[in-house]
């Protein structure tokens, strides 16, 4: 079965504190994982993908195949990080589709 689980629906941290948004996946093939972000009143946009191993807006995520996890981290949260975050599994089997988690709403308190 292909499944993505984000255990926290809501996460609230103070500005300057570290942030970790959890993501676990279930997939029998070789996983390709993404984090998408949706700021208030904006469209869903790609934040980062594990293949590129880059850091966007200070966020990083490491794929841990042993724990089947792809947690998103940032050492020092900023108020503009408040948004909805979705972890997604990219599957190519005939079509290319994304399997999303239910999302985590991150709120950064001043």
């Amino acid at each position: 079965a292909q499944r993505v689980t984000q255990p926290e629906k809501l996460l609230s941290v103070f500005k300057g504190a570290p942030v970790e948004l959890k993501c676990n996946y279930s997939y029998s093939g070789s996983p390709e994982l993404f984090w998408y972000v949706q700021y208030s009143r904006q469209r869903l946009q790609l934040l980062l993908r594990h293949i590129s191993r880059e850091s966007i807006k200070g966020f990083t995520a490491d794929l841990n195949k042993g724990e089947t996890s792809f947690h998103l981290k940032k050492p020092f949260a900023q108020e503009e990080d408040s948004a909805m975050y979705y972890c997604a599994l990219y599957i190519i089997q005939g079509a290319q589709k994304l399997v999303f988690g239910q999302g985590t709403r991150l709120t950064i308190n001043p």
């Binding site: 469209r43 790609l46 993908r49 005939g94 290319q96 589709k97 994304l98």
Partner: protein, 110 residues
């Protein structure tokens, strides 16, 4: 580049009616996917179109159908609307790498 454009932005329909949603892909993208995002949930894959054919379908009934035109634009049709079809419908276009999402059409069934 206008990115992915969807129309209309909002729509209210009555149970049993039919609806058509439209999507213009990002320039250079030839593949269009549709997702349904219910309130509080992550987007769920409906189907994908490439070269005017449906490539793959998610777990959605036949009431959901689509079409892709030679200019790569696409339509999503839903027949015999149910209250449970109320959701944000997202269109995403893609080429070799990644998706670009539209802002969505908010469908309310009353």
């Amino acid at each position: 580049d206008a990115g992915v454009t969807q129309s209309p932005t909002h729509l209210i329909k009555t149970r049993g009616q039919q609806v058509t949603l439209r999507c213009s892909p990002k320039s250079g993208h030839d593949t269009v996917s549709w997702y349904q995002q219910a309130l509080g949930q992550g987007p769920q894959f409906i189907f994908q179109y490439y070269e005017e054919e449906e490539r793959q379908r998610g777990n959605f009934p036949d009431r959901f159908s689509g079409h892709q035109f030679p200019n790569y634009s696409s339509e999503l049709n839903v027949n015999a609307l149910l209250l449970g079809d109320s959701a944000l419908y997202l269109c995403a276009s893609s080429s070799y790498y990644g998706y670009t999402f539209g802002s969505g059409t908010r469908l309310t069934v009353v």
